[in-house]
Symmetry: C2
Subunit: 349 residues, 2 copies
DNA sequence: TTGTATGCGTTATCAT
DNA sequence: ATGATAACGCATACAA
């Protein structure tokens, strides 16, 4: 593989000139530059990024640390990250399966020297020191921060508000026996959504303690298994708020299997509005979250910090949610003619 | 940020010793090593990977070039790649939105010096020279190779076989008017699936020319719009083979909107078996592809080439497909009790 | 406009 | 077992 020296000698110039041509740093004589480009093309030369970042101390790369890659949730966030990064000529170094604090620290370390900054998603509480330790050297942006006390920019989702409005909607429809399928313990999103559920109940003048809370872990399986608990309670709930869509989907499967009609016999609401939600039957009423934007904003905050010399004060953003009323909660919900509603534009964008 | 020199002086040793401790290369006196670890911990030191890879010429990173990141297809492939890479202590550098040949070349170049190898997915035909040019310097593995003539390892999907068996199934159910919604022109997957469709028809003793072929581009929208064309044809088709699941989903939406019953009035079969397929109503009969394994095998082939000094002969693998018969094609298909079938294990793994 | 020379943080090859 | 030092490929301050 050709180096800058090969090109220099092939073009009859010094390596400094070759460097200048590739970096467009100083004015170079047009004919000299031309010779350089030719030589480079012939030798199939392109600067070695490892060497380049060693001298410049910039990598044009940002690292992304995720707990997992499964499902539409992460998929969409990554897509947002990738697009925003690409727009700024940045590359993306991904590393997943980091649930615990020590794994996050290890992954962050192993990226040292390869990234200009880190986007970390660690929804499990107890990652505080981990992030604190990591964020000393490199600018860090948190997605769905699990701790409010860290000095670190972050972008999150209005979990509380979303859950609150979803449950409020059920209450307004007349439901008085509402169950929740909770997310995993120690997960900040899960806890906030639970808080929103309880608050909506309390504000409506009821006792949250009287409402059934079924444990779950954000997997479809948990939603499926929750069905039994819910159906056995007496008086039987007339509505269920699942803390995420996958659990709602599992619940719908179970209800289908035991031939319980949704929403007539049991109303169901989810959270996240993954792509699948509108294709289910009945289509799923859920809390919409702009996951793409979540990733995009994380990148923008990170690059802002990176450019301002990392000394900026930390910025904390929270993305608003909106309730998407479909069929699974009864009443107003209807199956929308999916495509026609979008007009002529490509609705994938 | 601390460097190896800081640690060396803090521990009262030379930088060579620090390097040795971190690389476990030579035997180092236990007490000396201990001093080094302590000093490193105190200074929060970790080797700079850019510098390391400059001298070792290894990056422990593999690059992934994709045309897009949208949808479950890419999501699952990436997940397979990430897991396999992580298992081998490799990191993953992602770059998407590379539809055209020149973009692939540019992306590959911009990764020079940061990766030990490249996984490229460029299903568009005409990327031959691009890949040929790229694969000179770095080991490359192609996913769904668009050209059989390149000297390069690859792992693909049995598109032809999958389409063939899907259409054969429809023919066996008695359908004689079958339409296909095609994938984008120039896409190798789309072309192979079309070929499988035609061949199945021909083998059954019919004229492929007499069967309706509706253009599409793998998007849901295309499937939705195809409905009109299909329903207007006379005699009206009794079955449709969509070249991927997203188009099948779009078609199902349209049929729902105009109140055509599936499968009674029109049978539908898809391709890919994305997670959503089994939750649709009716659940979608489709050709299953192990996308996770696709990514995994790509990594394994790449690392094998990387370790063997890149001089190995190219290996070409093709992953088999299997038809998953559900409700949308009528007859045998039934809605399976999704979770119960999986037993007690976590079926996400 | 162009060339020379230094340093980036490491690993690896010699020494000792 | 440990230390000195030469690469690695490039950017850049300085000199010409």
């Amino acid at each position: 593989l050709a180096t800058i020296r090969d090109v220099a000698s092939a073009a009859g110039v010094s390596i400094a000139t070759v460097s200048r041509v590739f970096n467009r740093s100083t004015r170079v004589d047009e004919r000299t530059a031309d010779r350089v480009w030719r030589a480079a093309a012939k030798l199939d030369y392109w600067p070695n990024n490892a060497a380049r970042s060693l001298t410049t101390n910039r990598t044009q790369t940002l690292g992304v640390l995720l707990p997992d890659l499964y499902g539409e949730f992460f998929s969409e966030v990554i897509r947002g990250i990738d697009r925003a990064a690409q727009q700024q000529q940045f590359q993306v170094l991904i590393s997943s399966s980091h649930a615990h604090a020590d794994e996050v620290v290890a992954a962050a370390r192993s990226m040292r020297g390869r990234t200009d900054g880190l986007i970390i998603m660690a929804s499990d509480t107890g990652c505080s020191e981990a992030v604190g330790q990591v964020s000393r050297g490199v600018p860090v942006v948190l997605i769905n921060p699990s701790c409010k006390f860290i000095e670190c920019s972050s972008v999150g989702v209005a979990n509380f508000d979303g859950a609150f409005s979803a449950v409020q909607h059920l209450l307004r429809l007349g439901h008085r026996e509402i169950a929740i399928i909770k997310g995993p313990a120690g997960n900040i999103d899960a806890e906030e959504r639970l808080r929103g559920f309880r608050e909506a109940v309390a504000v409506a003048g009821w006792e949250p303690e009287a409402f059934l809370e079924v444990p779950g872990d954000f997997t479809e399986r948990a939603g499926y298994l929750a069905a039994e608990v819910i159906l056995q309670k007496s008086p039987r709930p007339t509505a269920v708020f699942a803390a995420n869509d996958y659990m709602a989907i599992g619940l719908l499967s179970a209800l289908h299997d035991v031939e319980i009609e949704v929403p007539q016999q049991l109303a169901v609401v989810g959270f996240d509005d993954i792509a699948m939600a509108k294709y289910l039957s009945p289509s799923l009423t859920t809390v919409h979250v702009d996951l793409h934007k979540l990733g995009e904003r994380a990148v923008q905050l990170l690059l802002a910090a990176h450019r301002s010399g990392e000394k900026e004060n930390c910025v904390r953003e929270v993305l608003a949610t909106s309730l998407v009323v479909r069929q699974s909660c009864g009443a107003a919900g209807s199956r929308e003619p999916i495509l026609l509603k979008q007009g002529g534009v490509n609705y994938f964008s």
